[in-house]
């Protein structure tokens, strides 16, 4: 298991193993050969996914997903529990590699480069594609060391001064600097939940990733801490490509430019966020966002 630059591995939830193979889906208006509606392709794509199928053992969790993720844009992935959105998100930095029996088919590229090429260095990939998880998971180290860890192991800092600067810059970008600058050498785990999550974001951006994956980054936070993270996402999106999985639909509506709706392992619709929340193209998306099933 390689956790060097990923800072923790997401544990697949029970729902990931739910059998989502072709059951009878006609009653919900879904056919086996469902084609995603909306705008799958966009200009200036950072990541392109084509024909992606993901299996856990012989259970298929993701069926033929095609989608582009735009550079310096936020894409929100929404859908009921077990719809495969987290599974798909994790495939974008090969987090699923760490799960036994997980198999991926199809083509995922970052800047045109094959993410699943045997030649690709996974450690380097995870520095380029960082991840933030549902529960804040700082290392049991000081605030400083949490942020310095990535740059250190990737050899990004030559001197102590460089490292100090990187730590400060990352904490500033994560909107945490003012709150922690006087206690940098206290334990990161001593911070509040919202601060811990921003610390994890600071840790993720310390290695200057190109893409940040966020798997329900606010679900363990109170509304004020959530608002801070959302504000942060907006700021970060000027420099980073962000893919966020969220159960909070209003959050998706607030932070993202594009929204992707997953259902039973299929990507049902991907469209500009303002369209998805005012006039979605697919009736399943409509039902979900209006709270008619979940």
């Amino acid at each position: 298991m390689n956790t060097s630059a990923t800072f923790g591995v997401g544990t697949p939830s029970e729902s990931d193993f739910r059998d989502t193979r072709d059951g009878d889906m006609s009653d919900i208006g879904l056919t086996k050969g469902h084609v995603t509606v909306g705008s799958v392709e966009i200009q200036a794509a950072k990541i392109t996914a084509r024909g992606v199928n993901i299996f856990y053992g012989d259970k298929q969790a993701i069926h033929d997903v095609n989608v582009d993720i735009g550079k310096n844009q936020v894409i929100a992935m929404i859908g009921p529990s077990g719809c495969g959105k987290s599974t798909f998100l994790r495939s974008l930095n090969r987090m699923n590699d760490t799960i036994d029996g997980c198999k991926i088919e199809g083509d995922i590229r970052i800047d045109g480069e094959d993410l699943y090429s045997p030649k690709l260095d996974v450690v380097e990939l995870r520095a380029r594609v960082g991840m933030v998880f549902q529960k804040p998971n700082p290392f049991p180290k000081s605030i400083y060391d949490n942020v310095a860890y990535g740059p250190k192991i990737h050899g990004l800092a030559e001197t102590r001064a460089d490292l100090d600067e990187m730590v400060e810059k990352s904490l500033r970008r994560a909107g945490l600097w003012d709150e922690v600058k006087d206690r940098l050498f206290q334990a990161g785990t001593g911070l509040s939940g919202g601060q811990q999550q921003r610390l994890c974001i600071a840790r993720a951006i310390a290695v200057s990733p190109e893409v940040i994956l966020m798997d329900e980054p606010c679900s363990a936070l109170d509304p004020i801490a959530t608002a801070r993270i959302e504000e942060l996402i907006e700021e970060l999106s000027h420099n980073f490509t962000i893919a966020i999985v969220t159960h909070n639909m209003q959050q998706a509506a607030r932070v993202s430019q594009r929204t992707a709706y997953f259902h039973l392992g299929r990507l049902i619709e991907v469209n500009p966020t303002e369209q998805v929340f005012t006039n979605p193209e697919h009736s399943l998306t409509e039902s979900y966002i209006t709270g008619r099933f979940g």
Partner: protein, 230 residues
């Protein structure tokens, strides 16, 4: 979406709340429709008593406006509606405004009916009022009907009918101006009729707004000021 449904939310109260604002809007529409009919009758039938009643009942319409607006605001605050639900809430809160304005115009018509009834010499122009009044009443009825059934076709047809009303309004104006030129002593009387005709035309425009909103709810397309967006 062909069949509009505002039911089947996981939260059942939400179904009820959306149904409530729909019903309230229909009720308000019915009330406003009656106000318009009575206002026209009060002019055409020179019935001051009826006109008085129209003026009196106007406050009921205003009360409904406040109630519906409040209900819409609560839905937004509580439920954060999206997609069709959101469009319905937006539509209702705008339609309420149009209906309230129609109520205002009906009240104005009724006030002119009272002034006209007080004059000894009957004014010319009653034919125009009757004719235009009938057309506008029909348009309002059809618009409300289209809303009740979320019928886009009917809404679009009513939109076209309003264009006809605008033409008839212009014709009526010309007629009224002619009366005034023929007999300058009639000017003050005919001007009252002119205001009535003007109010009727405005009511047609509000009914038109209602129809545009229906298309917005059902299709998610904003067809207002379509010339701006090509």
């Amino acid at each position: 979406m062909a069949n509009m449904s505002f039911e089947n939310h996981i939260v059942k109260q939400f179904d009820g709340e959306l149904e409530d604002i729909r019903t309230m809007l229909m009720e308000m529409g019915g009330k406003v429709e009656q106000q318009l009919k009575d206002a026209i009758t009060s002019v055409a039938g020179v019935d001051s008593a009826l006109a008085e009643r129209v003026i009196e009942r106007e406050s009921h319409v205003d009360e409904m406006e406040l109630d519906i607006d409040e209900a819409c605001m609560l839905i937004i605050a509580r439920r954060q509606p999206a997609a069709t639900d959101l469009r319905l809430v937006m539509m209702v809160s705008k339609a309420v405004n149009d209906l309230e304005r129609i109520g205002d115009e009906a009240k104005k018509i009724a006030s002119h009916a009272i002034i006209l009834a007080e004059q000894d010499v009957p004014s010319k122009g009653y034919t125009e009022v009757r004719h235009l009044g009938k057309g506008v009443s029909n348009i309002l009825a059809n618009a409300l009907d289209a809303f009740a059934r979320f019928d886009v076709e009917a809404a679009l047809k009513t939109l076209k009918d309003d264009h006809q009303i605008d033409l008839e309004y212009k014709t009526a104006l010309r007629e009224l101006v002619t009366y005034m030129m023929e007999d300058p002593r009639s000017i003050s009387r005919v001007i009252n009729i002119l205001w009535v005709v003007r109010s009727l035309e405005r009511i047609g425009d509000h009914a038109k707004n209602l129809c545009e909103q229906i298309v917005f709810v059902v299709k998610g397309q904003d067809i207002r000021h379509s010339e701006l967006r090509g």
